[in-house]
């Protein structure tokens, strides 16, 4: 049984349908004397099991939004609730713990650790979760087989193609069985055929119940998602598809 299946079996029993909730979230950077409002009052709700594409031109605040969603950064003001918990009250260790247990990251440049093998890269979250070695090795192997790289376990990332590397990264993001995956331009460094495969894989994960938030600037990639959220100048410009994104 894969962790993704387990998730879909239990995802709406006794839990709130809203997984992520932003209330008037702002992020202001100080650039010298100038104040940059990367996010200028964003309120939204992402439901459990939804698949969102966040779109917008560069500088529109979509990366900032994803960093805040991923608990890599803190809002300057406003409230962020994750699964009913106020993220603002968490300290650095608390944020790390939240990332470790509840979030999966997929990056444009894969971000695998070059000196580790495929197996060790997939095992990384399990290591920090404190899994016993044999168990985490078996789990990593299962995940690698699921993404079709069961025969590449002892390879280094550099020995793999871009598509394969991104699949390893997806396997890693699934290792801790998080309810939500955050993808930052996951196909940005891939050719279109490989990119399509990756998007199909994400679609499959969505069907198994994962909530997926994907940043992209391409319309046809965004069309894989059930909803599209357009950002402009640090605010939500418009929303298409599923209606539960914003108040």
């Amino acid at each position: 049984m894969s962790p993704a299946n387990k998730e879909s079996d239990m995802h709406d029993e006794g839990r709130s349908k809203t997984l992520v909730r932003f209330d008037d979230v702002r992020k202001v950077y100080q650039m010298g004397t100038a104040e940059v409002r990367a996010l200028d009052g964003v309120s939204l709700r992402f439901g459990r099991g939804s698949f969102w594409a966040i779109m917008g031109p560069s500088g529109s605040g979509k990366s900032t939004l994803l960093n805040l969603l991923g608990c890599l950064d803190r809002p300057s003001s406003g409230r962020y609730e994750f699964d009913g918990r106020d993220v603002g009250t968490l300290n650095d260790d608390g944020l790390s713990e939240l990332r470790l247990r509840e979030l999966g990251f997929i990056f444009q440049s894969f971000n695998l650790i070059p000196q580790l093998t495929v197996q060790e890269n997939i095992e990384l979250p399990l290591y920090y979760l404190g899994w016993e070695h044999g168990r985490s090795a078996r789990h990593a192997k299962e995940l690698a087989e699921e993404i079709g790289l069961g025969d590449r376990l002892s390879h280094r990332p550099m020995e793999l193609s871009g598509g394969q590397q991104q699949r390893v990264a997806i396997a890693r993001s699934l290792a801790n069985d998080p309810p939500i995956l955050l993808a930052d331009e996951p196909t940005g460094n891939l050719d279109s055929a490989t990119g399509t495969q990756i998007l199909e894989l994400l679609g499959k994960l969505h069907q198994r119940g994962k909530t997926i938030i994907m940043v992209t600037h391409e319309e046809d990639i965004a069309s894989y998602a059930t909803g599209q959220l357009h950002m402009r100048d640090g605010v939500i410009d418009r929303i298409e598809g599923s209606a539960d994104a914003s108040d």
Binding site: L72, S96, E97, R99, N111, I113, P125, Y128, E132
Partner: protein, 421 residues
């Protein structure tokens, strides 16, 4: 659980270090040589001090040795014409010591005469030692054959002698036999015993030599008198010396210092000139220990400096490594690693690095004393504590100098770290 994690951390650390073998090796060279030099120098120091202490032990820690010293002005005055130089220790000194100092257990008068000894075809330049049986109680040497001098020999004014093994080998065709007589000057002495000689070379002179022949003091006095005539080019030099040495043995080590002070006061009072020298092995031992302490402090400073340099080297490389692996740190943080886990990872790496350096250093530290012993002939002793100390210090160096780079790694902003190229 934590142990397993630590083992995995260590293995991961080793793996990362093996990625840059040459760099890792160069990084730890400072620690390698620091540790190596600590052990090598400590072993040389320990060897030297043990040798010194061994020599002092042979002198006896509860002994005080008084030796006659010929004064320089006498020598100058005697040049060109016949003159009698009177100096040295007196028979009455011995009596005074015996009468006034109850803590003294043995007082041994010693008279030296240089004479050639002959036995058949063989001859050897001997140092005749006129003394009492107590000599053998103060200068404890094993008796190889026969017996030592006795009170009876003195009472009888017996012309007997005790040779050393060396002297016996040179003078007797067959080794280790007693009963033959050797001729010294115009007198014949019956060999009654042979003792082992333990004379050691070095800074400290033991009272015995390997060319010694021990005879009763009164016999020496009777046969050779107290006058010594030396023939030098163009002139004859005569010296009147009653005793060349007095060995004083004290009951316990605690009484050595007060007795030494009393002896000094007594000699100063009765000798107008300072024609004697007092050596106190216990004080020598104290001096040797003090020297060793000083030596260890100097060593410690040198070792400390080299380990400091080694530590800075490690810190430098670890800072570079943190910069190089900024992205990795960002990835680990994004995945959920806590700050202290990042600190732990880098600390383990530096400790592994410095420990490996320490182990290599111990290897070098063991090799050098061996080479010194082998090729320079110096005694070396590698003290067990020096190995434990060096390894402990190298782990400490890793911890101290790894802490700052590790904290810097942990403080990186995950977003910035992830964007780092």
């Amino acid at each position: 659980m934590h142990q397993i994690r630590l083992v995995r951390n260590i293995l991961l650390g080793i793996k990362n270090l093996l990625l840059h073998k040459l760099r890792s090796l160069l990084t730890v060279l400072g620690v390698v040589f620091g540790v190596g030099s600590v052990i090598a120098m400590l072993s040389v120091g320990e060897g030297a001090s043990r040798e010194a202490l061994e020599q002092i032990r042979k002198l006896g820690s509860n002994n005080i040795i008084l030796t006659a010293v010929k004064l320089a002005e006498d020598e100058a005055a005697s040049a060109g014409h016949v003159r009698v130089g009177i100096y040295g220790l007196r028979y009455e000194d011995v009596l005074r010591i015996r009468e006034t100092m109850s803590a003294v257990t043995r007082t041994v008068p010693v008279k030296h005469i240089r004479k050639r000894g002959r036995l058949g075809e063989r001859s050897l330049e001997l140092r005749i030692v006129g003394t009492t049986p107590d000599w053998f109680g103060v200068v404890e040497r094993n008796v190889a054959v026969g017996r030592i001098l006795s009170e009876h020999d003195l009472d009888q004014r017996a012309a007997v002698c005790v040779l050393t093994e060396y002297g016996a080998r040179r003078l007797l065709a067959t080794e280790h036999t007693v009963g033959e007589s050797i001729r010294i000057g115009g007198n014949y002495f019956k060999i009654i015993g042979i003792v082992q000689s333990e004379q050691v070379s070095g800074a400290i002179q033991t009272p015995d030599l390997e060319v010694d022949a021990y005879i009763p003091l009164n016999v020496a006095r009777e046969f050779y008198g107290d006058m010594i005539v030396r023939r030098t080019a163009g002139s004859r030099e005569r010296e009147l010396v009653e005793l060349h040495q007095i060995l004083v043995q004290v009951g316990s080590d605690e009484q050595v210092e007060p007795i030494a002070a009393a002896l000094k006061a007594m000699l100063e009072r009765f000798h107008k000139k300072k024609d004697y020298r007092m050596s106190v092995p216990l004080a020598l031992r104290r001096a040797a220990e003090q020297t060793k302490r000083t030596f260890n402090i100097v060593l410690g400073s040198i070792a400390g400096i080299s380990l400091l340099v080694g530590g800075i080297g490690i810190m430098n490389i670890m800072l570079a490594s943190v910069t190089e692996r900024t992205r990795e740190i960002g990835i680990r943080r994004a995945i959920g690693a806590k700050r202290r886990q990042i600190i732990g990872q880098f600390l383990v790496e530096t400790v592994v690095l410095s420990s490996v350096g320490g182990v290599i250093g111990v290897g070098i530290g063991l090799l050098f004393p061996w080479l010194i012993r082998r090729f320079a002939g110096m005694p070396t002793v590698v003290p067990g504590y020096s190995i434990a100390l060096s390894l402990g210090i190298s782990v400490g160096v890793g911890l101290i100098f790894g802490l700052y780079p590790a904290i810097r790694a942990a403080k990186l902003d995950p977003i910035v770290a992830l964007r780092h190229e």
